[in-house]
């Protein structure tokens, strides 16, 4: 539902501003609250509201920027008690868990800005870099924990909404793919869809 609302917001905002007058970008800094939904992992499925994002973008052409970005997300899910059986039937273990994954991608980004209107500017881009991650499985008072680094790719599309020449609102949606692996917890990769909602500053930093 949240995904749908954000997509409708972006679509409506873009469609309504195509014929409006264009506006000028300098360099951008964005601060965002980040919501993220894990994809294709049995380890975690619950959407995380505990996340954030910061990006700096330097305009190298009027419609193109490069920069650096950081994000963080704390995914968490309670796994009710169940029996885990070894395939040969020799051992079983019964417990409940709290599964947690903390991700911290640090990346270089590039964005292309489409011709927008007086207030709105849609864009698309990608971030490429490294992702630090911690994966933890808590059970009773014990924890099994591992941290690792992986390569991360983050294609995204978003929208800038101008409130003044220097300040405005920012929203985007993207997909994060990282190669972090954890053999003991059977994690081969970390993927999630993320939604950023925040603010930006536009100026010559």
């Amino acid at each position: 539902m949240k995904k749908l609302i954000i997509l409708i917001f972006i679509y409506t905002a873009c469609a309504g501003s195509i014929s409006a007058q264009d506006w000028h970008l300098d360099n951008l800094m964005t601060f965002n609250w980040q919501i993220a939904t894990p994809l294709s992992t049995n380890y975690l499925k619950e959407t995380s509201l505990a996340g954030g994002n910061f990006e700096y973008r330097r305009l190298i052409k009027p419609n193109m920027s490069v920069g650096i970005g950081f994000s963080w997300n704390s995914f968490e899910q309670y796994i009710p008690p169940k029996v885990y059986d070894r395939p040969d039937g020799s051992r079983q273990i019964y417990t409940d868990f709290v599964h947690q994954v903390y991700t911290l991608p640090i990346y270089l980004n590039a964005h292309y800005y489409f011709k927008g209107g007086d207030k709105l500017k849609p864009y698309a881009g990608i971030g490429l870099g490294a992702q630090y991650s911690e994966q933890s499985a808590y059970y009773n008072i014990f924890v099994t924990e591992e941290d690792n680094w992986g390569f991360v790719a983050r294609p995204e599309a978003g929208l800038l909404f101008r409130l003044s020449n220097y300040f405005g609102l920012h929203a985007n949606v993207g997909f994060s793919y990282a190669t972090n692996k954890n053999e003991s917890l059977k994690i081969d990769e970390l993927k999630h869809v993320y939604y950023n909602i925040g603010i930006y500053w536009n100026g010559s930093y």
Partner: protein
């Protein structure tokens, strides 16, 4: 050092440390139960079993070696009930050797964990420590520490093959259950209840245990 790189390093450092700690209180309500079996054992070939009315106990006090009385009986009776429900017959010691022998051992160990925070961790260093009744704890911005005391309990229930013991009385372990988790420091009835629940779970997940 220029301001911008410093701010970037500071920002990344904060991110590395801002992982949300999960609430794990509910995880302590039940013990973890691990069971292990000898795959070559044919459990339907045994008919009788024996378990003592006492429980071996290993604790911080060296005088504690055997647990007797109602708490021990509660746990032993849980084993007897489960074995009977699986078709095995209890054979008292006076009637000769049983086919299977079971032994329950409880290990109670006190573990202390100290967690220390700094001025950044909650109080922002605003209040001096003596405000909270700790005059000798240190000066301004001195980190505070909290000591959590856990009593960790591990119970082991093992089943031995008495029927096929050799001439030298070597017995083979056919099945074992290890149950572990946090114990109450003060309430032994709570600990007996936790262990009883864990014993029942050990049998529930060992469906192959049947006459």
């Amino acid at each position: 050092m220029k301001l911008k790189p410093f701010l970037v390093i500071l920002f990344v450092s904060v991110l590395f440390s801002c992982r949300k700690e999960p609430d794990t209180e509910d995880l302590k309500l039940e013990q973890v139960v691990a069971t292990d079996r000898d795959l070559s054992a044919n459990f339907s070939s045994y008919a009788t079993f024996f378990i003592s009315d006492t429980v071996s106990i290993v604790a911080s006090a060296s005088t504690d070696s055997i647990l007797t009385g109602p708490l021990a009986l509660q746990m032993v009776n849980a084993v007897k009930t489960n074995m009977t429900n699986r078709g095995y017959t209890f054979r008292p010691r006076s009637q000769g050797l049983p086919d299977l022998g079971l032994r329950l051992t409880v290990i109670k160990d006190v573990t202390r964990t100290a967690v220390c925070g700094g001025w950044w961790d909650g109080w922002w260093g605003y209040y001096p420590p003596w405000y909270w009744g700790c005059y000798y704890c240190g000066g301004y911005y001195y980190p505070w520490c909290t000591t959590y005391t856990y009593t960790v309990g591990t119970s082991a229930l093992y089943m031995f093959d008495i029927k096929n013991q050799g001439a030298n009385h070597n017995v083979r372990a056919l099945w074992g259950a290890t149950m572990f988790g946090v114990f109450s420091t003060t309430n032994n009835q709570t600990n007996a209840d936790l262990t009883t629940t864990a014993i029942n779970q050990a049998f529930t997940q060992s469906t192959y245990l049947k006459k």
